[in-house]
């Protein structure tokens, strides 16, 4: 099992957001997580990446059998967990290329591998840039600074392509993207999908799932997974909205 989430409870500022999540992701699988606003989708993604503001109040998360929650964010990254941020952070003054090289070499160092020199790094970068059709000029810019919404999302996927994670978590990467950008993002994910990697795709819209085809769809509501199914569940949600699910959630609470 790549990822095993058991009865996960998490709170922020004393307010419980996740109220017992159970989810298992095997290598080779793609799981979509859908749900209305405020259902806890982004909280789940943030807890998995190691955001410190969230307090895990109960439950556990195993990643390749290891306790993921004990690891610092950089350890998680080095172990192969990647979060594509819903809102990528602008970091003025930190050059994109310096950042990417520090990230890649940070991970390689953790794994006991040699650092890539500037030349090797450039070659790798050029190769990966083709995957997400990203323009070379971004290398001279500061991380995410002045990027359009679409550029930021594509840059997230570019980073993912570069770092080659085992577990990719996409937090509403599709929100606000036009169809062309969406296809590029999906293509980036699809090239990374293989029998050894797993993906958790958090999304609001069924549309993304036409391009990144999930094996499972889970519906999150009120901090719990209230329904799971195959990709057809996404279509049902699209047609019926979330109200019928909310009814289920209310029942589940009682």
């Amino acid at each position: 099992m790549l990822l095993e989430i058991k009865n996960l409870h998490a709170a922020i500022d004393g307010k419980e957001i996740l109220k017992g999540i159970d989810l298992t992701v095997n290598a080779g699988e793609t799981h979509a997580i859908m749900g209305p606003n405020g259902s806890g989708k982004s909280t789940l993604a943030s807890v998995l990446a190691g955001r410190e503001e969230y307090e895990v109040t109960a439950g556990e998360v195993l990643y390749n059998g290891q306790n993921l929650l004990d690891m610092a964010p950089e350890e998680r990254a080095a172990e192969g967990v990647f979060l594509a941020f819903q809102y990528p952070v602008e970091i003025p003054g930190v050059n994109t290329q310096v950042f990417l090289q520090a990230a890649l070499n940070g991970i390689r160092k953790y794994r006991g591998e040699e650092s890539l020199d500037a030349m090797e790094f450039m070659q790798l970068m050029k190769r990966k840039m083709k995957v997400v059709e990203i323009d070379d000029s971004f290398r001279r810019r500061s991380v995410n600074e002045g990027f359009s919404g679409g550029e930021k999302k594509r840059f997230e996927i570019f980073q993912m392509a570069l770092l080659e994670p085992k577990l990719g978590i996409l937090d509403e990467t599709d929100s606000g993207l036009d169809i062309d950008a969406l296809k590029i993002v999906a293509n980036g994910v699809n090239t990374l999908k293989n029998s050894e990697t797993g993906f958790v795709v958090v999304t609001h819209y069924q549309r993304l799932l036409d391009y990144i085809v999930p094996d499972f769809v889970h519906v999150l509501s009120g901090g719990r997974i209230v329904r799971s199914g195959g990709k057809e569940l996404a279509l049902e949600l699209e047609a019926k909205g979330y109200d019928w699910i909310r009814g289920d959630a209310a029942e589940a609470t009682q």
Partner: protein
């Protein structure tokens, strides 16, 4: 009240000690003219004494530790531990420079190296030129620093000045190789005080790059009181860097006075990484039209370090642009002070002055006092200023860590990014690399 009385008494006693030591100074090389200049400065110091914190200009900087330090000027020329060429450690990588080294305030010819210079350029010991009765020196020395911003420390320097550089570049000459002025402190028998004094005269349409560099070979207590006067002729182009890398037990007070004629491009970048108690006074007078003047600074301090930058941009004539960015990174219980004066005189229409002071506090005990001070007497001008004090952006730190960058490296990158604005102004690549290395090393030690 009794505490204030105590402070006053201590400053008064220190003043008397300094006044008494004047008669005992080594007067070798003085001329009637220079003795008169010294005496006048001493009288001015005697009238003011050391400033207390009740003096608005010194409100946040208590100079008692400096005043109370019973320091002597080092008398020996001995260079214990500093073999010829031993100053290599103070080079900037492969950067070729004309290098003048001063040890405890006195010129060390064994450590200095001046390469071939264009015809007519004078570069050498100021003390020698005073002794030789140089007319240029007599015309300019002490004329500007005291006028614009009178300070008892500037007076003390004039009264006790030892040596430093005298540079005269005639009109229309470009000196390509940067001039590196290295002021080293080495241990004396007790605490030492040094009074470096530099006079730089750059002729019309000439160009020069200066690096003032203060460092030590030991971690002990000493005092550097330094004054640099720069006179820039029409259309001159001057890059000035000041690196204050004194020991962390040292006291450092400096005055940098820049006098500019029309069409001058002047840029100064000051780096304060060392020193326990530091005060820099930087004054730039724009005495002609169409001047571009930059005063930038970066202070990176920790522990109980205290760094105070007082700057003054004096727009005396129209159509001048001034730029000022001071950036601070503070850890431990360190304290930063910034006071930025912008004067726009009545005639200085179409002035464009920009000032900012940004501070990054890496600990809860670090403290910053920042104050812009604008005095505007012309009506068609643009002046902007801003000051910020903040912590590292936690979202940015998390983003970097989520990509596999260690917490330490993530913080290093963010601090570096914060300091980058000032570092970017350093046009000498090897010098910038040297400063970057200093920043990373110092951050790693925290």
């Amino acid at each position: 009240m009794s505490l204030l009385k105590g402070a006053g008494a201590s400053l008064e006693a220190a003043k008397e000690r300094y006044l008494a030591s004047f008669a005992q100074r080594d007067a070798q090389g003085e001329t009637p003219w220079s003795s008169k200049l010294r005496q006048a400065a001493l009288d001015s110091f005697a009238a003011q004494g050391f400033p207390s914190t009740r003096n608005e200009e010194w409100k946040y900087t208590d100079v008692r530790p400096i005043a109370e330090l019973d320091a002597q000027t080092a008398s020996t020329q001995g260079l214990n531990g500093l073999a010829t060429g031993g100053g290599q450690a103070f080079n900037f990588g492969e950067l070729q420079t004309h290098r003048l080294v001063f040890v405890n305030g006195r010129m060390a010819p064994q450590l200095s190296q001046i390469h071939e210079l264009p015809n007519g350029v004078t570069l050498g010991s100021l003390a020698e030129h005073i002794a030789g009765g140089s007319e240029l020196v007599q015309e300019h020395l002490g004329r500007y620093a005291v006028q614009t911003a009178p300070s008892p420390f500037t007076d003390l320097n004039t009264a006790f000045m030892q040596d430093g550089v005298f540079l005269h570049v005639p009109n229309g000459i470009e000196i390509e190789t940067p001039i590196h002025l290295l002021f080293l402190s080495q241990p004396g028998e007790g605490a030492t005080v040094a009074y470096p004094r530099n006079l730089i005269i750059v002729g019309a349409s000439s160009r020069v790059t200066l690096i003032e560099h203060y460092a030590s070979t030991h971690g002990g207590e000493y005092f550097t009181n330094t004054v640099t006067e720069i006179i820039a002729g029409k259309n001159a182009n001057i890059d000035h860097y000041k690196l204050q890398l004194e020991s962390e037990a040292a006291f450092h007070v400096s005055t940098t006075q820049v006098q500019q004629e029309r069409d001058v491009h002047f840029a100064s970048h000051m780096f304060d990484f060392g020193g326990r108690l530091v005060r820099n006074n930087s004054n730039a007078v724009m005495g002609g039209e169409n001047i571009e003047c930059t005063l930038n600074g970066l202070y990176l301090i920790d522990g109980k370090q205290h760094v105070d930058n007082h700057t003054a941009m004096d727009h005396a004539q129209p159509h001048c642009n001034s730029y000022e960015v001071y950036t601070g990174v503070l850890s431990g219980q360190s304290r930063g002070v910034f006071n930025g004066k912008i004067f726009v005189r009545r005639d200085a229409q179409k002035t464009d002055a920009k000032q900012s002071n940004r501070n990054l506090l890496l600990s809860t005990d670090a403290l910053v006092n920042t104050k812009p001070q604008l005095e505007i007497f012309a009506d068609d001008v643009r002046c902007t200023h801003g000051a910020t004090i903040g912590q590292l952006d936690e979202d940015a730190e998390f983003y970097l860590r989520a990509r596999g960058i260690s917490k330490e490296d993530a913080r290093g990158l963010l601090v570096y990014a914060f300091a980058n604005e000032v570092l970017n102004g350093v046009r000498l690549e090897p010098l910038r690399a040297f400063l970057e290395q200093q920043i990373f090393t110092r951050l790693a030690q925290r």
